[in-house]
Amino acid sequence: MSLVNYATREITCKIVYYGPGRSGKTTNLHYIYGQVPGDRKGQMVSLATQTDRTLFFDFLPIDLGTISGFTTRFQLYTVPGQVYYQTTRKLVLQGADGVVFVADSQARQLEENIESMQDLHANLAEQGVDARTMPLVIQYNKQDLPSEMVTSVVELDEALNFRGVPSFAADALHGPGVFETLRGISEQVLRRLSTGSQGR
């Protein structure tokens, strides 16, 4: 996938929400879906089990209209977090322009967060992508839970954010931090327009 197509004057950003199971990736998309005006969003495709676990992936296309002569679209994807959906995760990750890593702030989920982050890097490496060059932001979700249940942002940063990428505390269920995260990854991805690493 190309971020910017100069021939057709289109900018298409594929952003993948990655993270362990039940960390709130789909919740992020649901919140965004609820905020985007009807004429700007496409059908949100969500393949979930009866218990609302993502079975394959969620997909939310957003049309941002024509900006500086470029038809600009965002495509938001989530991956299934469960360990056994490895193949689907790789598939969805292909051609991503940016990744939002949604971490579950609950203290008992720290190990799953670390494993999922390692899984992300392994899958990027397998696809020949240098993780250091891939735009990435981290969202620490569920920070609204009682403090005794959650790992602090500093601790999470120490455990997960070894690259020092932008990180955001969030409560995806209610909205705080969701758009800030999306704005953060968008800035990173769009910055590549001028570096041209994705240009065609």
Binding site: G69, S147, V150, V154, N161, G164, F168, G175
Partner: protein
Amino acid sequence: MVGAGNRLATAAARAVAESPGAVYNPLFIYGGSGLGKTHLLTATAHLLATTDPDAEIVALTLDEFSEQFQAAVSAGEPQAFTGRLAQTDLLLIDDIQFLTGRREMQAELLRHLTRMQEQGRQIVCASDRSPADIADVDERLIQQLAGGLVVDISAPEYEARVAVLRGACTERGVVVPAGALESIARKSVLSVRELLSALNEWIARQTLGGDRTPTGRTPMRGTASVARVTRATPLGITPVSLTPSSVTPAASTPVPGNAPAAPRSGEFLSFLSDVASAVQLHVESWQVRLRETIAYWSAQGYRTGVLERALSLPTDPDVPALVSVYVEAVEHLRALEAAAVSVDRTLAGQSIFRDPEQLEAAEDLVERALAGEMPPGGPTPAFTRESFDEGASNQLAVHAGDAVIASPGTRYNPLFITGGSGLGKTHLVHAIGNAIADASDGRLLVSCVHAQVLVDELIAAIQQGTVERWRSRYRLADVLIVDDVQFLAGKERTQDEFFFVFNSLIEAGKQIILSSDRSVSEIPELAERLRSRFEGGLTAVILPPDRPLREKLVARFLAALGRPSTPELLDVVCDLPVQSVRELIGIVNRLAAAADARGCPLDAALARAELGFGASSSATMAPAAAAEAAGDRTFLDRERVIWDWPDVGARLIEEMR
């Protein structure tokens, strides 16, 4: 908002909307990005629609105009598109600067605009630059666009900026403290878009800081309360800064209840505004403009190396000037190619006409083509004398060739090489040509053509009335090699012309080398005067390769494929009654493919199995070898020889029947 920067443009647009087609036709509005050109176009359309509800108004960007026209053409209904425009009272075209380089679109637009103007239909165009500054556009179209009124829109002055900000706040229902908007308006901004972005930023900062307006209202409807700040929000979320090291931890407090928060519709708009600012910032960089140009010209088939190198420059080059020079070079190349093709159709599409960096070489090529000073092409470099193996079957031809290489034009002139198909005639004549060129350090001009090319070029020259140039080209050669001259059979005019070329070269002491798959006497419908001349030098025959030559060749072909050649393997392959070198190459390739498919080494056992030999190759090959020695060709025909005899039982049953 009307200010000093857009007053003239607004007045002109209003006049146009009030009496379309009567004044300022076309009206051309230009100005930097984000200054409200599109807004003004839309307002013009709106005003006309209000005053005259029956008016036909079409508002398109240039890309949309192009897409709709192409769609109409694809649907086979270009007239429908033309008809629709003919009914239009007001046509508004935005972003018309993207006409650059789109020749077909320019011609189409010129046609439509001319017709609309003749019919008194109003046209309004908007661009980020003046008509004269739009590069690579037909001069007639530029004149057409600039023929009405050209007005610019400049950045809004302070008062207009304050008015824009107040309007935006009113529209969004945002109340700001006194003096805040004036403070934002004092910032140095170049466009309305930047101004609104600054307002958004200010509102976001105020909101994130938890400040409330003096009236107690929420500063902006539904703005997110979490972002990159370093203190706790009312919700108890611990915000995080961009740099993890600067994070200040704060105790999280639970959210009361778990009900979903109320929708905050401003979030998306704020996000959209930020994305628009980011895209605008990056899209308008000089590198992006350069990439756009590269994408366009690459798609047209031109090399863009010079532009690509400019991308890696550390500082902003003068992109418009660079692109302008590039486009001029491309136009020059097009003109050169047209000139070259007018004298020689074979020059069409040559890569030299697609590379602006080879402009001088292209000019030189065309100059020589026009002067008839371009001899036909040289021999293929891949065929070298060193790679041509000598054996008893081709000894005469090789030695004659070596003599010609040693002193071209003096011995064996012409040298006529004949032999069956696939025996290496083409390789040898090209090799002789290359060796002569090398030996003379390029002083001797060696031309090498296939006889069919000779015929085709003459036909083209006759069509274009450039036969004299055709003759001149061939007479320029110091060594002329014509491969497969049997193709001259029955081509009377070519034979006539070639006769004169032949005589001219021989008289001038130039070397001629010919090849044919049959002897001169066997070429039908060949003029007697040519026949005698072809036989006037030396005719050297190449025969099918004998056993030692086959061994040499097979070993060479195996080595080229990176396969070892053992004596046993060479025995198996070279025992085959092969009639041509080409056939031998085919066999070696077949064996290599079989070895790959079976995953085993290419050895004698594989060769026997693949080539259908029995248990003992020597036993089965004996008749062939004997037949070859005896000159009995019957046994050399694989269709007539049974290589794999049935077993004894089957043969007995056959005998007893």
